[in-house]
Amino acid sequence: MMEKQVILKTNHIAKYFYEPVKFKALNDVSFEVFESEFVAMIGKSGCGKSTLLYILSTMDTAYEGELFIAGQKITGQKQDTLAAIRNQNIGFVFQFHYLLPEFSCLKNVMIPALKLGKYSYEEIEEQSYQKLELLGIKDQALKPASKLSGGQQQRVAIARALINSPKIIMCDEPTGNLDSKNTGIVLETFQQLSKEFGQTIITVTHDNDFAAKSDRNIEMEDGEIIDHDKKI
């Protein structure tokens, strides 16, 4: 079997909040995620999952310790460099905030690709339709995002996260608003992406069934990783 490539790695990450009182939200978090791995992060509410995910996504830079993505040191990079890294390498699905409400679903999916500028407008449009179809909402493509239900919005957000074929896709409870049928679609999509296209998925979830079908579960408690490979 081939040697597994490390795609994401953290060294002793710690995170403090100072408002309203000094509070250590993350403590000595060190772990690795491998290429084409589908990892679920689990743990009780308030244990620091979202906080960690924001750091992994390169958006939060106020932390101690080090972060590496695809062998490149992320810690200490300039904001503009980080923005470019996010655009190309990371797809993100947020816990609550999803889409640009004034744009059509299609446009929402297209925007990160237009920003990347690798393909022509027509090609990007075509790819965006494909991603929407993958998540079963192609029929909503031309509606303004604000006119969609929460679950539909969440699926558009997932389609958007996929559009630039990023190396890593990070999700904060991507199935929180979905019924079992659509949760199944998302799960299959993620499995397909990791197995067939070699993309890495890191997703926070409260859904034990969902977590059970991932490659590996990382369990957190009180800002620390307590199990790197929890069996459910």
């Binding site: 958006m59 923005a83 655009n87 905030h97 990160p112 920003k115």
Partner: protein
């Protein structure tokens, strides 16, 4: 052509909030419109007052200044006292020596357009027992007309008739009224040295200055020399018009270096007019700038509001890989579009205002309000409008670029 992403986003923001966009643009419209209108008003009025001025005064006047008598024994060094004589104006002739040579040299200068000799005579106008004192300008009437456009001020008669009539005179309308004199009537004049002549009125003029109309007359150069008992080479003033009247002070400085006579530019001769001109420019400039500032505040507010409402959008854009520069770009583009629309309509508004005001009848020799379309003011207004809106949008855009997406997502 396809818009790039930043423009696409900017445009969508503007189109989904048409009302705010229009309000911001309207602010710029009013600001720029009033700004251009006010400046046009000042420029138009200044040009009008200059024109009125140049109907009576040349750009430059060369004459012999009065001189004070010198001390009998001047103080030769600090140890000695000065022997003082009561200093007073020396009573020498105010004639220019060899005026033909001076005029010939002047006309060779490339900036010079017209050069005309003049003899000023203080005199009395008489008709029966009524008498008015005044000043007659002895001139070569065709040259003087080229310089002052006297013909345009004529109520009756023609300046050219003075050429054919050696003892003709052109008088101000005030003199004609007071002495009850009509065109082609005779008028008695008595010069300061006591020469009496009977002149034939060949023209009556009306300037914008009633004081001039009540004192001034034009006669032929030869008549004026006779009135002063002088020879035909006697000239008291040389009047010069140059290409650009605004350059008169520099030209007069240059000229002053090479002549013993006094060279006076029209700006120096009309300090009063010049200072009121400056006051006007400062006043109107300040008012229109204030209006522009208010417009800028409107833009600033609307962009600020847009950003407040779009915090989520900004956070999402940043999370998906848009840099701070892109965010600035997006909001600058929104500002520029609003500024552009506003400026465009501002130009139209200014044009409309100018059109309306230039049709207002004010009487006098100008008849209509002195205002006109000045391309340079419109261009300046458009540039200032775009710059001001750019500045007003740039500050909030900078703040938007600094927004931390994490803080938005955690809320």
């Amino acid at each position: 052509m396809r818009l790039n992403v930043d423009s696409d986003i900017a445009l969508t923001h503007l189109l989904t909030r048409k009302k705010q966009t229009m309000i911001a643009a309207l602010g710029v419209t009013v600001g720029i419109g009033i700004f251009i209108f006010m400046i046009s008003l000042v420029v138009g009025f200044n040009r009008y007052s200059d024109e009125a001025l140049f109907k009576a005064a040349p750009h430059l006047r060369i004459y012999k200044d009065d001189m004070l008598s010198q001390p009998l024994i001047p103080q030769s060094n600090s140890g000695y006292a000065t022997v003082i004589v009561n200093p007073k104006i020396t009573n020498v002739s105010n004639a220019l020596i060899n005026p033909e040579k001076i005029m010939a040299d002047l006309i060779k200068q490339e900036d010079v357009v017209t050069v005309a000799p003049q003899v000023s005579v203080n005199l009395f106008y008489n008709n029966g027992t009524s008498q008015i004192n005044g000043v007659a300008s002895g001139v070569n009437i065709l040259e003087a007309n080229a310089m002052f456009n006297i013909q345009s001020t004529m109520l009756a008669g023609d300046v050219r008739n003075l050429v054919a009539t050696p003892n003709g005179i052109l008088i101000g309308v005030g003199i004609a009224r007071k002495l009850n004199i009509q065109l082609h009537d005779n008028i008695n004049i008595t010069s300061s040295v006591g020469v009496v002549k009977v002149m034939k009125v060949e023209g009556i003029f009306k300037t914008s200055n009633s004081n001039i109309d009540l004192t001034k007359s034009y006669v032929n150069l030869a008549v004026s020399q006779q009135l002063l008992h002088q020879s035909s080479s006697f000239v008291t003033d040389i009047l010069v018009n140059i290409k650009d009247p605004d350059k008169a002070p520099e030209f007069s400085k240059r000229l002053q270096r090479v002549t013993i006579y006094k060279v006076e530019d029209w700006q120096a001769a009309n300090e009063q007019t010049m200072s009121s001109k400056k006051t006007r420019a400062v006043m109107f400039g300040a008012i229109s700038l204030a209006i522009l500032l208010v417009a800028a505040f409107g833009i600033y507010n609307i962009i600020n509001m847009t950003i407040k409402e779009k915090l989520n959008d900004i956070a999402i854009l940043k999370a998906t890989g848009f840099s701070g520069k892109d965010v600035i770009n997006i909001f600058i583009k929104e500002t520029l579009i609003m500024g552009f629309i506003g400026t465009l309509f501002g130009l139209l508004l200014a044009a409309g205002l100018i059109k309306v005001v230039s049709g207002i009848y004010i009487g006098g020799d100008r008849e209509y309000f002195p205002i006109g379309f000045e391309l340079s003011i419109f261009i300046a207004g458009a540039i200032i409008g775009m710059l001001v809106t750019l500045g007003a949008g740039y500050i909030p855009a900078l703040n938007a670029a600094k927004i931390d997406p994490i803080e938005i997502f955690r809320k």
